[in-house]
Symmetry: C2
Subunit: 351 residues, 2 copies
């Protein structure tokens, strides 16, 4: 019986018998072969989609959070805190609930639609809106975690990377080896760092024959690493990667350079195209930011960066249901109206 990634990969993680395992059975997500997509874009390769949206709170953040919250509990912490409006806050709140700990989410007052936070609120998180901006909220949570038995679970928490690296382990086990290319959205750059760490560890243990080329894609309006400078007002429809100053910037560049990969960007139009294409050709509904990896495949193909007959993995970081507004906005079909008569309906169906 699968009992979460800490139990599965215990020997590769910084846990001991004394670590209480706080798990929602995260990980173990599907790796789906995308033959329709490969055909549609005319790419003579095997494309696999790692659908991280099927983690318990709907995003890859659960992999890091099971580690962060288990270690917080082990250390005697009484609560977790983060400054986040999205997937991190939902994951933090869910694992805190399971651990019997409190969860606090600090946000800048007036800038956040509450709908984005309803998932964290359902899990019982307390939301505190401060008179200040996001940077000030982050400063505050860092200060609080230094002075009280409250654990910071933003991306600076090192245990999150440890949990997230297990995604690479699963891919190697599923394919029997590492893929040739690993396509991944880049926002804060923690996930590309984590995957590369996982690939490096299994390669060192001879569980794979090579490292994949790490192919990271930022959103054009938040492409700090590509442009080589902090973006002060990042803008993109892909809110989960709308980050202008990635916390794991250096590590992402290391992953790129050591693996002979790239970090590039995709436009919002390219992301939306991939978002719709993925749903309509593969039946997989991922949140817009997720689709930067698939948009990246299409761009890399155009740039001639993908050799034929290779294996590609795309990470789909979050569930499309996380962002109902985009789904409504970009739905492909329009409703057709007709009388309740067989021949009328068939005509409308163009059958």
């Amino acid at each position: 019986m699968y009992q979460g990634l800490i139990n599965k990969y215990r020997e590769f993680l910084p846990v001991s018998d004394k670590t209480p395992v706080i798990t929602l059975n995260e990980g173990n997500t599907p790796l789906i072969k995308a033959e329709n997509l490969a055909k549609k874009i005319g790419l003579n390769c095997e494309i696999y989609l790692k659908y991280e949206g099927l983690n318990p709170t709907g995003s890859f953040k659960d992999r890091g959070m099971t580690m962060a919250v288990s270690k917080a509990k082990e250390d005697g912490s009484q609560a977790v805190i983060c400054a986040s409006t999205g997937n991190t806050s939902a994951a933090a709140a869910a694992y805190a609930a399971k651990a019997g700990m409190r969860a606090y989410v600090l946000i800048p007052d007036g800038y956040i639609a509450l709908g984005k936070l309803s998932q964290a609120m359902m899990y019982g998180a307390e939301i505190i809106a401060i008179k200040g901006n996001f940077d000030e909220a982050l400063e505050m949570v860092i200060e609080i975690s230094k002075n009280y038995p409250i654990t910071l679970v933003n991306s600076v928490n090192p245990f999150r990377i440890e949990g997230q690296k297990t995604g690479a382990f699963e891919i190697i086990e599923a394919l029997g080896d590492a893929p040739d290319y690993h396509f991944i959205p880049v926002g804060n750059a923690g996930n590309i760092t984590a995957y590369f760490k996982g690939y490096e560890e299994f390669y060192a243990l001879k569980k794979s024959s090579h490292l994949p080329k790490m192919m990271g894609f930022e959103a054009e309006g938040a492409a700090a690493i590509v442009k080589g400078e902090r973006i002060y007002k990042p803008e993109t429809i892909a809110t989960a990667i709308r980050i202008g100053n990635p916390a794991s910037w250096k590590q992402a560049e290391r992953a790129r350079d050591l693996s002979k990969g790239i970090i590039n960007y995709v436009t919002d139009d390219e992301i939306i195209y991939a978002y719709k294409l993925l749903a309509s050709t593969e039946g997989i509904f991922a949140e817009p930011a997720s689709c930067a990896s698939v948009a990246g495949v299409i761009k890399a193909q155009k740039l001639g960066l993908i050799e034929e007959n290779k294996k590609l993995v795309c990470i789909l970081t979050g569930n499309g249901l996380k962002d109902p507004d985009s789904a409504i906005k970009y739905s492909q079909s329009e409703v057709k109206k007709t009388d309740a008569k067989l021949d009328e309906i068939i005509k409308v169906m163009k059958f």
Copy 2:
């Protein structure tokens, strides 16, 4: 590498080597031990939650739809059709996309919020609104499927029950035997029928030592089976089980009687209580209808229907992200506002 429930349970399903397997790697969902919940409600039993919301389109319907669409493809059908506004339409559209088939969804004009259909629309389904009510839409799709190479995938499609029964197989494999009690929401009654079929089949093959008592729960405002009569205007917040004339009525009664279980009802208040309790104590966010199973445990406990030291499984049929409106409406915490000062924030945190 897990490749969906047809590949996993092929020998127990009506498929052959000629059946094209249309899969999104559905099934293989977590069975999560709910110790916090058991403690909270003071029940001296092991409670397990089968979190079906982590299927690819976010509900248990994917188990049936992989079968229905694979068989439709095998039979040379060119499209699927259903009259549904919820989880069935999303699953039908996703599997049709994967199969390269068209999907049509018939709805009564003017009664459906389009947000509910955005997931199916993302997958490329064509939505047709007819001037008529839901019963007429259902009549039309039946007529169309009789006269054209278009497969009806509403619950009358017998292959759906076959796919859904695999949930019982997974539970028996995870626990090493059948549970003592199986709690499940009852709407159209197809799922209780399917689980009991799965339990019966594995029991006949001596893969389990007994059958679980089937404990089905309708919503009070849609409790046709409990009341013994069709409900013409079913009403409940749990929209996924808002059904007044269950298609599998007789089979549900058979499951109840043969297993010495019950079919009872829970109120909307009890469902909402369970919905919030589940999220805040277990970190699991399930759609309201799902929570009828957990509400059922609480009711059955009060009625003295659960023996101590037993194993219970609750089916959580769908993902909470499917219903963002309920999440916003019933979120537990309110946003607190404060200055961006450490001592002010700590005061608000009551730390």
